[in-house]
């Protein structure tokens, strides 16, 4: 009964080759988030969707894009991955407001060769 699912768990791509990471949820939550987590660091929010409204963090590079075609699915697109983009990418969901728990997926570990 997984609630936030991320595919694939491990992704290897080449420098400059576009890659898409996917996230799905069975919780019917309004909000979906994408975080980047580098080794031994805290997760860093890239952007989030509140329903269909996209909210980008000011310091998220243009190289990172996201799509949310419906409530259940959200995608992270990295247009031209660089070596510095190698990281764990975490998807999370929450119901509504800041008081609600965020539920995280297991993450996708991205390697850039």
């Amino acid at each position: 009964d997984a609630m936030v699912i991320q595919n694939p768990r491990y992704q290897v791509t080449q420098f400059g080759k576009p890659v898409t990471l996917s996230c799905s949820q069975t919780l019917n939550h309004n909000v979906m988030y994408w975080y980047q987590q580098k080794s031994s660091q805290a997760p860093k929010l890239l952007f989030h969707y509140y329903d269909k409204d996209f909210n980008n963090e000011a310091d998220t590079p243009d190289n990172f894009q996201s799509r949310r075609p419906n409530t259940s699915f959200c995608f992270l697109d990295i247009r031209s991955p660089g070596l510095g983009d190698a990281a764990m990418y975490l998807c999370a969901t929450s119901r509504e407001s800041g008081r609600d728990t965020q539920y995280f997926g297991p993450g996708t570990r991205l390697t850039v060769l």
Binding site: L45, N55, A92, D100, T101
Partner: protein
């Protein structure tokens, strides 16, 4: 803007000993406080949270945290740790005014030794 400081990046502790992980935050508005745990190669899981009311909150696996408004702290404690508590622990804060965003501390890695 909010910020969260976890004073210890690593905490080694022997099995069955107590542990305390320190967390301080700064915010000009009322906050909600969270502790998340991350096991190796996994996502984060909520351990406990403070929204309002009693300042002492407990989790089902023996952890507790106390909200101290005057000291702007939310330290996490467990009286007796197990090997399985080896993980990274993140303190986080959110506020209604900032929407749904969590601000995380840098994390504390707990290593429980037999």
């Amino acid at each position: 803007a909010q910020s969260v400081t976890q004073l210890d990046s690593q905490v080694p502790v022997f099995e069955e000993a107590p542990v305390e992980l320190r967390c301080n935050y700064s915010s000009s508005v009322s906050v909600y406080l969270f502790w998340y745990v991350q096991y190796p190669n996994q996502g984060l899981q909520l351990l406990l949270k403070y929204l309002s009311g009693s300042t002492l909150v407990e989790s089902i696996n023996g952890f507790e945290a106390e909200f101290n408004k005057s000291q702007t702290s939310f330290h996490l404690r467990k009286p007796s740790v197990h090997i399985s508590d080896t993980a990274e622990y993140f303190c986080a804060v959110s506020v209604e005014a900032a929407g749904n965003k969590l601000t995380f501390g840098g994390g504390t890695r707990v290593l429980v030794k037999p």
